[in-house]
Symmetry: C2
Subunit: 363 residues, 2 copies
DNA sequence: AGAGCGCGTGTTACCGCTAACAGCGCTGAC
DNA sequence: GTCAGCGCTGTTAGCGGTAACACGCGCTCT
């Protein structure tokens, strides 16, 4: 088999396809892109030829001719490594389909001036739009700087989107409600909660969902043991410590992310508790850590790669429409999450016989 | 400040620079690329104009005109998430400088036929070369398939490079020697070792380094407690369990990667041991996990991002030279590692006063 | 019936850059 | 002195697409 799709001189071009389909190159171009104003029979003939010749457009030529976006920026800061990996995988897929380059830069500083400085340098370099995954999606200085430079932004998982912003997220509150309900259904009545970083709106949403579910079940959510955490493993260590040394130790703990849940498991182990027999511990995010620890974490899975793809698609669509003079308008995409039930959760110690009713492992 | 570097109509082009420098576009092109056959004074004038106008070449036009490589593939499989994240960051930087697109695909299957199938689909799609990070760099089926298709490959951290291959790695053996020496210098005489997956050549290299250092110190390396692991957290759990339940518990444990080291710490904690006072535990790789656990791991840092960059540079250089008809030849780049000393290691329990001599935290 | 319009398609002129070659002035060999 | 050869620079002709416009056609509207 020849390798007709390899780039370089001698590859299949739009002309080849046009000849094969008995039309002009322009018609092929139309079919490959928007596809409006092409008769159905013509379109089919072209697609057939494309298929037969295994044609794929040369992205370089396309970008050049269309003068379209070629570089999308991605500014990231110290997310959990597995979050970044998944995010990049998704972003790269979207970038590839759109034929744009993904340009990434890290911005670790928490200092506003420094963030602005990094942003400016980054944005001046080459990029036409910037995607901001958490936690940077909440950063005021960065947003302000990009706004000032007139560079469009798509935020991911930003809690309080502005009127003119593009945002991708999941419904944190609904997910937290589901998780809490699940624990309640297992028989838990005394559920502890570890909050996330107070600067993140997601933290508040998750906590709100937790309270919603308790209230809904007729439990007093003001009496629930709640500790402040900051999303880091270390903060989970101390929050878990505090929860487990309470007079009335909860039978289940819902941590706002996997790192803190894993830390809490480690604290429980050090105290000789067996998870989930003595205590259930669940997390949020389904990062790689969730399956690295033992027992593996019951958690909420965020479709991280899909969110990244969605973010890039939104960005590219916006860039395209903006070039056509269209007005930017508020767009939000809410993707669906999923409960992942693993081994770190089970019925409370009292309800032994309920044990056999433990739900089957999910997907 | 205007944004002269934004793409789209109206950006700074090579013509602008040429005019500003009083030369032709071709001369500017020569300066920007190889730069041979340009008088020094001319070059300076051009560079000055480039600087002044803040010109950056349009990668799309460049690829199109030069007919050069535009898509480099990256096939990955379930590495630790933080490894992948760092690798992608490095790869993306290199891809950006070279103006190529990074195309990624995962290949999780262990089955040879399936690996070959995925590889074929991937390679047929679009890519001119493929970069293979571990563990895929050791996969025979994938290499065979790519060879058959005539697609150049750069492997990363492959243990036994072939004569005609391009490879990037660190010196695992030397790194293991350093780490073991460090433990010996702290006063440890009874050092346990957890081996990595037997399919990986790096596992053997690290173990060999461990033995080298023991022998060098006059210790009997055949008496050292060694357990087989498989690089996974779970395998570290059982290997650690076995090591810690030995009659003569070692005073230090060297795990072949961070995941297994972290698992061993967790086992130690469950047994009421204090790290590093009762036992030192060190890892390898310096993944994100190393700083997620408590105490943070002493480990060997692999320059993962730099290795990815090197791999892409090698790939691009090879593609370029190959287009010029040059022969492919064996090339290996060995990058340097670094010892990262954190809190999980210290002198053995007997040597209390040595405690103050504990080396300062690195970098 | 003729104007006007929208549809489907082809033609032309680039997008920004570089390969290939052409041309110039200078050097050194004969 | 002439001519080959080299170093430096400019000119030409695309790379593979797409925007913009042009064109022919059938239809509706007045």
């Amino acid at each position: 088999m020849a390798r007709p799709s390899r780039r370089g001189r001698g590859a299949i071009t739009i002309e080849d396809v046009a000849r094969a389909a008995g039309v002009s190159a322009m018609t092929v171009s139309r079919v490959m892109n928007k596809g409006r104003n092409v008769r159905e029979s013509t379109r089919e003939a072209v697609l057939e030829a494309v298929e037969r010749l295994n044609y794929s457009p040369n992205t370089a030529a396309r970008s050049l001719a269309a003068g379209q976006a070629t570089h999308i920026g991605l500014l990231y800061a110290n997310p959990s490594a597995s979050y970044l990996a998944q995010f990049l995988v998704g972003a790269l897929h979207a970038a590839r389909s759109a034929g744009v380059h993904l340009v990434i830069e890290s911005c670790e500083s928490e200092d506003a001036d420094e963030q602005a400085e990094v942003t400016r340098r980054f944005a001046t370099s080459d990029v036409e739009g910037v995607v901001l995954p958490p936690p940077l999606s909440e950063s005021q200085p960065i947003m302000a700087e990009l706004d000032a430079m007139g560079i469009p932004v798509v935020t991911v998982a930003m809690g309080v989107p502005r009127d003119d912003s593009l945002n991708v997220r999941i419904d944190d509150r609904a997910a937290a409600i589901e998780m809490t309900r699940y624990l309640i259904d297992l028989g838990h009545r005394d559920i502890g909660f570890i909050k996330g970083h107070p600067n993140h709106v997601a933290s508040h949403d998750r906590f709100a969902g937790f309270r919603d579910a308790l209230t809904e079940a007729g439990l007093d959510c003001d009496k629930a043991p709640v500790e402040q955490g900051y999303f880091s493993y270390r903060s989970g260590l101390s929050a878990g410590e505090r929860l487990l040394s309470r007079q009335n130790r909860p039978t289940a703990i819902f941590a706002s992310n996997d790192d803190m849940a894993a830390a809490t498991i480690s604290v429980a182990h050090r105290r000789g508790l067996v998870v989930p027999d003595d205590i259930s511990i669940v997390g949020f995010d389904d990062t790689a850590l969730a399956t690295s620890v033992w027992p593996e974490l019951t958690t909420v899975k965020q479709p991280i790669a899909a969110m990244a793809e969605a973010a890039l698609e939104l960005m590219i669509a916006d860039l395209r429409s903006h070039r056509n003079g269209a007005q930017r308008k508020f767009t939000e995409r809410v993707l669906s999450h999923a409960m992942i039930i693993r081994e770190s959760s089970g019925p409370p110690p009292g309800a032994r016989k309920a044990k056999t009713r433990r739900p089957a492992k999910a997907s």
